[in-house]
């Protein structure tokens, strides 16, 4: 195994007007674990894709051990022994461990003049590879019989079969339980001892201190810097990730009086493996933020309250009345609306018209008798188009002809037509342009003035601070803190979202109240 010193110089990549990577130069020294940090949209994944050959930079050069390389496809990266373990598992569950490791290049041998699969070689080679990595897994077992953590390990073993000098690990722990993370770290340390260069992407701050040697931070496509983990602090890294951001605030006079009456109350809501003991109250006209990293359980909680998915225990009370069995129909009846995070897939019926999509949820309101005509729907359609300033030519055109921001407004308009009391907005600002984002926030503020409460889920700390009256922080399925946006900084909130010890430090510093969790 040879050491791989990988160097990038002046790397640049733009998608249309958005510059994802801007003049990034860095050297990843061999035999070390290099953490790559940055908030969403900072250019981390673009950099990884460039290194793994999944996309080609517009400018800049790459060197491995001083030799210039350029990857026009992932195959080129493989040929240069740069191997990536992606976040999503790419194993075939029904096949054996050994078969998965050598998939696509299984060994054959001649038997009676016929080329047949050499199963013995598959399994002995796989066993040797696994033992080499200190793993005791039977290569004949089907992958589906292993835990997700073990599967992630097999994924790395598969990568190791290519004998890589550079290994890119894209959030390998995002789906793992704590004990499994330890196993994975043991493996990573072992590989480090053997001189493999590892580039490690994670959202979990505590992991950096456990596993990384250096931390390289990207912000808005630029390389902010790189620090040795020895002597680094959470504050320092968070500071590098965010810089000195001036915070936009809600226009003066917008934060209206919030009514005293609680419209929605959730008590001890639990679904095993997804979220636990979630309790909160939502008051009339309040905009309640839900902060957290991806996978913190925020979407799952909203979907459970809305009745889209089930839950194991807990209570949901709407307007003082306990809801026995929430279903989307029942919750709609009670005045709750839900705009899902993946609007393209489940928020809209793409083949139907803009007109029809704006009336999807409100059919019972528009037509209580069940009989309906286009002209009867028309005022509902034009009202939302006007009030949400949706850019629409002909409302009878398919909704798929609209831009992302306008599609998002259609999803919101669809629910505003039901005259809701509470809106659940799950990542409404994801993937839409700045102006559309601002408009979505203004819609929330306006609805709040009319007494409509919102629960706003976002991964962007700055958005939550800008928009909300109050913010709940979720981590690993629990509400771990409640913060007041007016007294909280972006990096404090971000730190709270990330990891236990980091969060506790910050809570003490800022004098905030941490709830739940220990």
């Amino acid at each position: 195994m040879t050491a791989g010193r990988i160097e990038v110089s002046g790397l640049r990549k733009a998608f249309g007007p958005t510059v994802a990577l801007d003049d990034v130069s860095h050297v990843f020294e061999p035999g070390r674990v290099h953490a790559l940090m940055g908030k969403n949209g900072s250019g981390k994944s673009t950099l990884v894709k460039a290194l793994s050959g999944a996309l080609q930079p517009d400018a800049g050069r790459m060197f491995i051990n001083g030799r210039e390389v350029s990857f026009s496809s992932p195959a080129d990266a493989f040929a240069n022994r740069v191997v990536t373990v992606h976040q999503e598992l790419s194993l075939v569950p029904e096949l054996s461990v050994g078969e998965n490791i050598f998939l696509g290049r299984l060994p054959f041998r001649q038997r009676l003049g016929i080329s047949t699969l050499d199963w013995n070689k598959v399994h002995t080679d796989a066993r040797r590879l696994l033992e080499d990595m200190g793993l005791d897994i039977d290569p004949r077992r089907p992958v589906s019989s292993l835990s997700v953590g073990r599967q992630q390990v097999i994924e790395i073993a598969k990568a190791m079969a290519f004998d890589p000098t550079v290994l890119l690990l894209d959030e390998p722990t995002s789906a793992l339980a704590r004990a499994e993370v330890e196993h994975l770290f043991a493996l990573v340390r072992r590989l480090r001892e053997r001189g493999v260069t590892m580039i490690y992407i994670t959202h979990r701050m505590s992991e950096l201190f456990d596993i990384a040697d250096t931390c390289t931070v990207l912000r808005d496509g630029r390389l902010v810097g790189s620090i040795e983990m020895e002597g680094a602090t959470t504050d320092r890294i968070v500071g590098m990730m965010f810089g000195d951001v001036a915070r936009a605030t809600r226009p003066a006079g917008e934060a209206e009086q919030i009514g005293g009456d609680v419209v929605l109350s959730v008590r001890n809501l639990t679904r095993r493996g997804a979220f636990e003991d979630v309790s909160f109250d939502l008051r009339r006209g309040e905009i309640l933020g839900m902060a957290g990293m991806l996978g913190a359980g925020r979407t799952e909680v909203l979907r459970a309250i809305f009745g889209a998915d089930g839950f194991d225990g807990g209570e949901i009370v709407v307007d003082g009345m306990p809801v026995k069995q929430p279903t989307p129909q029942a919750m709609r009846q009670l005045g709750i609306g839900y705009t899902p995070e993946n609007r393209k897939e489940v928020g809209l019926v793409q083949m139907l018209s803009i007109h029809d999509n704006l009336c999807l949820a409100s059919l019972p309101v528009i037509a209580p008798s069940g009989f309906i005509t286009r002209s009867r729907e028309a005022p509902y359609v034009s009202r939302q188009i006007e009030e949400l300033s949706i850019k629409v030519g002909d409302p009878m055109l398919p909704v798929s002809t609209l831009s992302g921001g306008n599609q998002q407004k259609i999803v919101i308009g669809n629910w505003l037509n039901t005259r809701p009391k509470v809106m659940f907005l799950d990542e409404p600002s994801r993937g839409i342009d700045v102006q559309a984002k601002q408009q979505v926030f203004e819609i929330m503020w306006r609805e709040a003035r009319l007494g409509i409460s919102s629960v706003f889920v976002s991964t962007e700390a700055e958005e939550l601070l800008e928009v909300c009256d109050r913010i709940l922080v979720m981590r690993a399925g629990r509400i771990v803190a409640e913060v007041d946006p007016s007294t909280t900084s972006i990096s404090d909130l971000y730190g709270l979202c990330m990891e236990e010890h980091a969060a506790e430090d910050i809570v003490e510093d800022a004098g905030m109240t941490a709830t739940g969790d220990q």
Binding site: P328, Q329, M351, L352, L360, I366, I372
Partner: protein
């Protein structure tokens, strides 16, 4: 002018093709353009057409029903058997009415159950109705013992073969079913929900639409229409016959697809199916009048299904 033709063609493709076919057959097929033949075609298409309107709703909702042919046979046999058993006891009119109600109830129940089996056990309707296709045919044979049951009073048979103001009586049923299903799909929230459920079930569910109710209801409606068609067929041939309507599921689905309904769900019109039913009826009638061999007719009917799908694909590109 070419722009006009293009617009007309992309907007009303099947209407134009149907008109051209009609004109062609009027000139070329001997005996096509006669009142008798036109009425004959109408009578032939009504039985399958009645079912096709329900099938359109099922397919738009993203499901399929392969059991309609066997369902027609079963419904005819059920009403015939009830007439045979109870006419003496309760009189012919009561027996016919009870027979019709029972036949319809059985098919509605099976349709709704098919939808619920999909909901509870995730069994695709393709599989459930494929099983029903064989089971219902078998049940029909069990009821009749393999022989036609000619148990109807004579007045009942006029329902299938009689005329009212010179038009075959089933044609009125066909027109009523067309009007009602068209209205449901266009002017009720239920109809809107059918499109939404077929277009994107998860989006529909998250909008508070009860997608399993909608799917089960379309299957139930199709069951009712299948039974009505079966009763009319039994009345027309004067007996309950377990071999009736064999292979109809394909003709019915063909008419729906020719009418422009997408097998992927979410897209289609009752009016399109109306055109599809007429088109298929005229093609079959025209081929018979032109003395095309029966074997070639099979080939052509199959080719029409594939052609319709390809044609819709090309149209989609043109628009």
């Amino acid at each position: 002018m070419t722009g006009f033709i293009r617009t007309a063609f992309t907007r009303y493709p099947m209407e134009i093709i149907l008109a051209l076919l009609y004109i062609y057959l009027s000139f070329e097929a001997p005996g096509f353009f006669t009142v008798n033949n036109q009425l004959n075609v109408l009578r032939n298409i009504t039985m399958q057409g009645i079912i096709a309107f329900g099938m359109t709703m099922v397919i738009i909702s993203g499901e399929i029903d392969l059991s309609v042919g066997s369902g027609v046979a079963l419904a005819g046999c059920v009403i015939a058997w009830i007439c045979g058993e109870y006419t003496d006891a309760i009189g012919a009119p009561a027996a016919v009415i009870i027979g019709a109600v029972v036949a319809i109830a059985i098919q509605v129940t099976l349709g709704v159950l098919t939808g619920r089996v999909r909901q509870w056990f995730s069994v695709p309707t393709f599989i459930t109705t494929l099983a029903l296709l064989t089971m219902l045919r078998g049940a029909a044979n069990l009821i009749t013992g393999g022989f036609p049951l000619a148990t109807f009073p004579s007045w009942f048979t006029t329902l299938g073969s009689g005329f009212f103001y010179g038009v075959p009586i089933p044609v009125y049923v066909f027109v009523v079913v067309f009007a009602v299903t068209h209205f449901i799909m266009k002017f009720t929230s239920f109809g809107r929900s059918v499109y939404a459920v077929g277009g994107n079930p998860e989006a529909a569910r998250l909008s508070g639409i009860n997608i399993w109710f909608v799917k089960s209801a379309t299957l139930g409606i199709t069951g009712a229409l299948t039974a009505i068609s079966g009763i009319l067929i039994a009345a027309q041939i004067g007996s309950g016959n377990a071999t009736a309507a064999s292979g109809w599921e394909l003709d019915v689905i063909a008419a729906v697809i020719i009418g422009g309904t997408s097998l992927f769900g979410g897209k289609g019109r009752i009016w399109g199916t109306f055109i599809g039913v007429l088109f298929l009826g005229f093609v079959v009638n025209g081929m018979t009048l032109l003395n095309v061999s029966e074997y070639w007719q099979y080939v052509v009917r199959g080719a029409l299904i594939l052609g319709a799908v390809l044609f819709n694909y090309v149209l989609e590109k043109l628009r």
